[in-house]
Symmetry: C2
Subunit: 183 residues, 2 copies
DNA sequence: GAACTATGTTTTGGGTGCCTAATTATCACT
DNA sequence: AGTGATAATTAGGCACCCAAAACATAGTTC
C-alpha cells in the first residue's frame, strides 16, 4: 500500500513529461502511436523510447505490452494534457506578447514548461487575458511595443499617441538600472 | 588543437551555470569563496561541489588547485555574470509584472534562466522597459492588473478608469480560447 | 516457405549530477 | 610540536537519460 502510493507520489522528471506530452499530441494526430514516431518527435533513438515506456508503464501512466500498441492511461492523459497546455500558454506569451518568432518560441516554451509552477502559469494566463481585456492596454497596444522595440526609445511618439485620446498628464520614467542591468 | 577547441565549444550544462552563478555571487559578497559556501548556497553536499569544481577547472572556467582558494577565470566571470543577469531580469519580470512573490519568483527564475535564449531575454528587458516607459501603460497600469487578478474580470471598472482620462471608445474583447484554453 | 523489410527490444556502456562514508589536509591553540 | 576542530577530498554507488550494436517479431513478397 505504501509502495504503490510512493510510486504515484514521486514527481515526474522533465523527460517523462516530455514523453507524455509527445504521446498525447501524437495520439491526437494519428490513429496509433508508434515507438518510431515518438523517437522522431523527441529526437532520440528507439531504445531510449522503449526504456522510458517501461518506466511510464511502471508508473501507470501508459498501458503498454511489448510489440503492441500503446495508450495513455487516464492519469497519463491528465499529465499529457497539462503539459501541452503549459506549452501552449508559454509559447503564446512568447509569440503574442514578446513577439518571438514561432519556431524559437516553441523550443523555449518546451524548456520553460518544466520550470514554471502551476500558480505562476496562472499569472501568465491572467496577464494575457488582461492585456486583451482591459481597454486601456488592449487594442493596438502591442503594436506600440513593436514600434518601441524596433525604433528605440522614442517617448515623444508614445506620448503623442497617448495624447490622442487623453489630455496631457505627468509622465514618470523610472531609470532602468533596476530592471536591466549589470552595467 | 582540435581537442582544446572542442572543450571550449561544448555547451555548458544547467548545473555548471548554476555553480558559476553561485561562485560569481559569493565572490562579490565575501573575500574568498569556499567549497562549503557553495555547497550551502546551492543546497548540495561538499563532495558534489568538489566534483563540479574539477569539471569547471578542466573547462578553464575556474582557477583551482586542491585545498587552495578558487577563482573564476575571465571566461568564468563572463558566464557567471551573464547567468546572474538572466536571473535578475526574469525574477524582475515575475515579481514586477506578474506579481509573483519574491521567494517563488527567485526559485523559478533559477530554472527559467537555463531555458531562455539571449535574444528572448532581450525581449523581456525591452518589454519591461516599455511598460515603464510608455505613458499609456506605465504609471499605475500594473495596479489595474492586480485588481483584475483579484476581483475577476470587471470590464466596467477597467473601462471606467479608462474614461477618466479619455473619451468613450469601442472595446474589442477577444475570446480566450487561443490563449488559455484546453477547456 | 525462405528471404526481405519494417519495427521493436535487449544488451552494454557512457555521461551527468547527486549522495554517503571514510580519509586526508589545514588551521588554531595550548 | 601535538592535538582537535573544521574543511576538503577520495572512493564507491545510485538515478536518470541517452546511444550503438545485436537480436527478436511480424508482415510481405516471391
Amino acid at each position: 500500500m505504501q509502495n504503490k502510493d510512493d510510486i504515484s507520489k514521486k514527481p515526474l522528471t522533465p523527460a517523462m513529461e516530455d514523453y507524455l506530452e509527445a504521446i498525447f499530441n501524437l495520439g491526437k494526430e494519428k490513429r496509433v502511436v508508434r515507438v518510431k514516431d515518438i523517437a522522431k518527435r523527441l529526437g532520440v533513438k528507439m531504445p531510449t523510447v522503449t526504456n522510458m515506456l517501461k518506466t511510464l508503464s511502471k508508473r501507470e501512466l501508459i498501458d503498454y505490452e511489448k510489440y503492441e500498441y500503446l495508450e495513455l492511461t487516464e492519469k497519463g492523459v491528465d499529465v499529457g494534457r497539462e503539459i501541452h497546455r503549459r506549452h501552449h500558454i508559454l509559447r503564446g506569451f512568447l509569440t503574442d506578447i514578446l513577439n518571438v518568432d514561432f519556431k524559437k518560441a516553441d523550443e523555449e516554451a518546451c524548456k520553460m514548461e518544466h520550470a514554471v509552477s502551476a500558480s505562476t502559469l496562472d499569472r501568465f494566463i491572467e496577464f494575457m487575458e488582461f492585456v486583451q481585456f482591459c481597454p486601456r492596454v488592449g487594442l493596438d497596444w502591442l503594436e506600440y511595443f513593436d514600434e518601441y522595440r524596433l525604433h528605440g526609445q522614442e517617448p515623444d511618439k508614445c506620448l503623442a499617441r497617448m495624447k490622442e485620446f487623453a489630455g496631457g498628464f505627468k509622465v514618470r520614467i523610472k531609470t532602468m538600472e533596476e530592471v536591466g542591468g549589470e552595467k
